[in-house]
């Protein structure tokens, strides 16, 4: 059990609401549990699901029991406990009477886990995705692009922002401040 902690819900036999749920967790419901867990949203970056963010690593369902593996973005990420609780609630609602959430640190989360869909959703929500994009100001350069107006005329205001994974930037084009997901 290297690098892992676990939290388990009580066995079905000890749960008052388990009656009837175990029957629902048949072979056909495995995909339903997977989909329900994958649809859990990050509590801080609400536009992304835990799957899109790269925090969800694995969902295994056997019989009426689900084992979900997640990984933290930062070791001290305060959202992890909320994610864990939301996953248990989602899997339970999808008919899985017993849910175990494991936390792994390997392979470590990096911003490379964000795919194109996730990056587009972040931009649409006013958060510049990680990395630099090519822009042409006086000369072609790699810059953080403003998620609101697309300008590359941007500057860092503060290296730490509203969550552990964001920094605060300002756009010289539209004058608006915006969050940038830090390269990590």
């Amino acid at each position: 059990m290297s690098g892992r902690t676990r939290e388990t819900t009580p066995p079905a036999s000890e749960r008052a609401d388990a009656t009837g749920r175990a029957d629902a967790a048949g072979a056909g419901s495995v995909e339903r549990v997977r989909a329900a867990v994958a649809a859990v949203r990050d509590p801080e970056l609400r536009v992304l699901t835990v799957e899109e963010l790269g925090v969800l690593r694995d969902v295994r369902v056997e019989g009426g029991r689900a084992v979900v593996t997640i990984t933290p973005t930062y070791l001290g990420c305060p959202a992890l406990d909320a994610i864990r609780a939301d996953i248990v609630a989602a899997a339970t609602a999808a008919g899985c009477p017993e849910v175990e959430v494991e936390v792994t640190f390997t392979p470590p989360w990096t911003t490379d886990w964000l795919g194109e869909t996730a990056r587009a959703k972040l931009t649409a929500a006013g958060v510049a995705p990680p990395g630099r994009q090519p822009v042409v100001l006086a000369l072609p350069a790699l810059r953080v692009r403003c998620p609101r107006c697309g300008s590359g005329d941007t500057a860092l205001l503060a290296r730490s922002g509203s969550t552990a994974c964001l920094a605060l930037w300002r756009c010289g084009g539209c004058g608006q401040p915006f969050d940038h997901m830090r390269d990590h």
């Binding site: 933290p72 930062y74 070791l75 001290g76 305060p78 470590p108 205001l157 290296r159 730490s160 552990a164």
Partner: protein
């Protein structure tokens, strides 16, 4: 249990926990709002590292103690953190100096420890990135204050002089004094700050020897748990 591994993980966990608690004292007291957010985020990163390390230490020990028991129910002399992280915050420049020296050291150390497949390596790989960002933050402030006004320069130099003796223990713990000095000297030079002479070298934190600053810090950290055993949110 491997006693050497337990001691190593506990020491790293205590470094992170005490540094986190001290850093968190800036919350709502930093010189500007952005810095308040930055220091609180750094404290949060350190606390996350402490939790991962102390949980692991508890498992290695095998006596049923978890992260909470190790953090809240040990006496001062049982803490094995280096003395640098327990020093009082004082002037903001001192916090910058502590974070520069500690952040650079932890970044080097965790980078070295992150090689391999062990559980400590997995934690170190996460912590290396985080402490690298902390060191970068401290470097920016060291440059700004050291190369700023005569007053900011004076206070940054005083802070460097004050904290310097406690950096010897970092090198003693890790054997990374060479690369540490190279990187720190580069920052001090660029900031126009004088590297202090190596003289007094307090130490012994890993053996439970501490300055008078640790006791009050632990009193605040542990008070609630000791007053209300078993209390939950």
């Amino acid at each position: 249990m491997t006693p050497a591994l337990f001691d190593q993980v506990l020491g790293l966990g205590d470094d992170a926990l005490v540094a986190a608690q001290r850093m968190a004292e800036w919350c709502a007291r930093a010189p500007e709002l952005e810095e308040d957010v930055a220091l609180a985020n750094i404290a949060l990163d350190l606390l996350g590292q402490a939790r991962a390390l102390l949980s692991y230490a508890g498992e290695l020990e095998g006596l049923g103690r978890g992260e909470d028991e190790l953090a809240f129910l040990r006496e001062e002399s049982e803490f094995t953190n280096v003395q640098l992280v327990e020093l009082q915050n004082g002037d903001f420049a001192r916090t910058v100096a502590k974070l520069l020296f500690f952040g650079v050291h932890q970044h080097l150390l965790y980078t070295e420890l992150s090689a391999g497949e062990s559980r400590l390596a997995a934690i170190a790989a996460k912590a290396a990135k985080e402490t690298g960002y902390h060191a970068g933050h401290a470097e920016i402030w060291t440059l700004r204050l050291g190369d700023g006004t005569s007053e900011s320069h004076r206070r940054m130099q005083e802070a460097v002089d004050h904290v310097w003796p406690y950096t010897h223990e970092l090198a003693e713990v890790s054997g990374l004094g060479g690369p540490w000095l190279e990187r720190v000297s580069g920052v001090l030079d660029a900031a126009g700050l004088r590297r202090p002479d190596d003289d007094w070298a307090p130490g012994g934190g890993r053996s439970g020897v501490h300055t008078e600053a640790l006791g009050p810090l632990l009193a605040e950290l542990q008070y609630l748990r000791r007053a209300h055993p078993g209390a939950r949110w």
